[in-house]
């Protein structure tokens, strides 16, 4: 059944004050990159998939599961979607330690699906020494890395990563990219990845959706979309 339908199929229409989001794309690739200028609607698209927002009209299907379908009146609540969302601005829980933040999703999704290797993730993200600290004492990049770990460890059926590698140094970025590749290939978790960085797109993505002004303006392989 899963093979019949694309891994990710999104159509979402929403009007908000001055901005209209009108996104339609499908992807069967392990990692799909959302690419586009600042303010074009990338975060909004991820929010639609994760159920953070409800589209005025639209349909979201992940690996055969219909998560949103406004026509059929389907809207699976967020906590049952099993998406791992890495927020653009981390959104760590300030009252929990880093360790507790990471455990949060893990605990709720225990027993559901395969779990990613915790130790490897913590090591690659370099947050082992931060586990006892509270988010308020972390640097910007450290917060980001914790947010990645939290999402990875919540046994997601799909990973939605909103600019996860910005604000990190090149060495760390390379390591994390390797980790993402492993999650993608070894654990077979489909990933939708937002970035501004063409290198990341070229290395990770097999399909690129280019967005501008709330619409998909191009879709295809990195080579096709990023050529000009």
């Amino acid at each position: 059944m899963t093979s019949m339908v694309p891994a990710v199929s999104v159509s979402a229409f929403q009007k908000r004050n001055g901005f209209t989001l009108d996104i339609i794309f499908e992807s069967d690739c392990p990692l799909t990159a959302l690419f586009g200028p600042s303010g074009s609607g990338k975060t909004s698209t991820l929010n639609m998939i994760a159920g953070v927002h409800r589209p005025d009209k639209g349909r979201v299907v992940i690996a055969g599961h219909v998560l949103t379908d406004t026509q059929a009146g389907i809207f699976v609540p967020r906590h049952r979607r099993r998406v791992g969302l890495v927020f653009q601005d981390a959104q760590l829980f300030p009252h929990f330690t880093v360790g507790q933040n990471i455990k949060f999703g893990q605990w709720f999704r225990r027993g559901e699906g395969s779990t990613l290797p915790e130790d490897a993730i913590i090591a690659v993200l370099g947050i082992g020494h931060l586990l006892k600290r509270r988010p308020a004492t972390l640097s910007g990049g450290e917060k980001h890395r914790v947010a990645i770990a939290r999402a990875l460890l919540s046994s997601p059926r799909i990973l939605l990563m909103d600019e996860p590698l910005t604000g990190l140094d090149d060495a760390r970025r390379m390591e994390i990219m390797t980790l993402i590749e492993r999650v993608r290939d070894e654990f077979k978790v489909p990933i939708v990845f937002v970035t501004h960085n063409t290198d990341e797109v070229r290395r990770l993505a097999s399909r690129v959706i280019k967005i501008a002004d709330g619409r998909v303006v191009a879709a295809g392989t990195p080579a096709e979309v990023l050529s000009p």
Binding site: F93, F104, F108, A136, A151
Partner: protein, 232 residues
Amino acid sequence: MFGFSPDEWTAILLSLRVATVGTLVGLPIALFLAYVLARWRFPGKVILDGILHLPLVLPPVVTGYFLLLTFGRQGPIGKEIYDLFGITFSFRWTGAALACGVMGFPLMLRAIRLSFETIDRRLETAASTLGANAWWTFTLVTLPLALPGILVGAILCFAKALGEFGATITFVSNIPGETQTIPSAIYTYTQVPGGDYQALRLAGVSIFIAMVALIVSEVLNRRIQQRIAIFE
């Protein structure tokens, strides 16, 4: 001890019990209603809100009289509760706790609601994407982040309950050992020519208890603030 008569000691201990029970029993109800008022939209919300403020707006005597009419032996609710749980309020310390709790309730409710309203709701969203349903999100995210306000609400309610007099005496009157709280005892003294000294001594006890409660709440608050600091 300290020259207080046995009756005065009874009043002091009773006041402590009444204020504590009134606050603790009211707390979950306040949490629930504060959440409802902060988050839900429904018709008649302002009416509900207004009703919950009534004990603050009405003279305490009126509130006490109203309690007498509804929670008294013959009152519709009082009768019901007696039939269901076997709890009587009239002329019992339970009634004093009810009166004090009711009088302090709006203060507690308001502080908690204020906290709920100023929480960053994106954190609740984050919790839900991680698999927490509404109840867990409330317990693990909303509630701990609102703790400072909950603490303030509880301490306001407790302090108010310590000082509450008008509603209590109207509802359950002033029976030494059963419903005579510190304020009722003080009132009695102030009404007797020459009773000022004893009244002041008892007022001192109230102040002392409130001070201890305040210090405890300050210490707790400082800890909480350190824990949930969104800034360093």
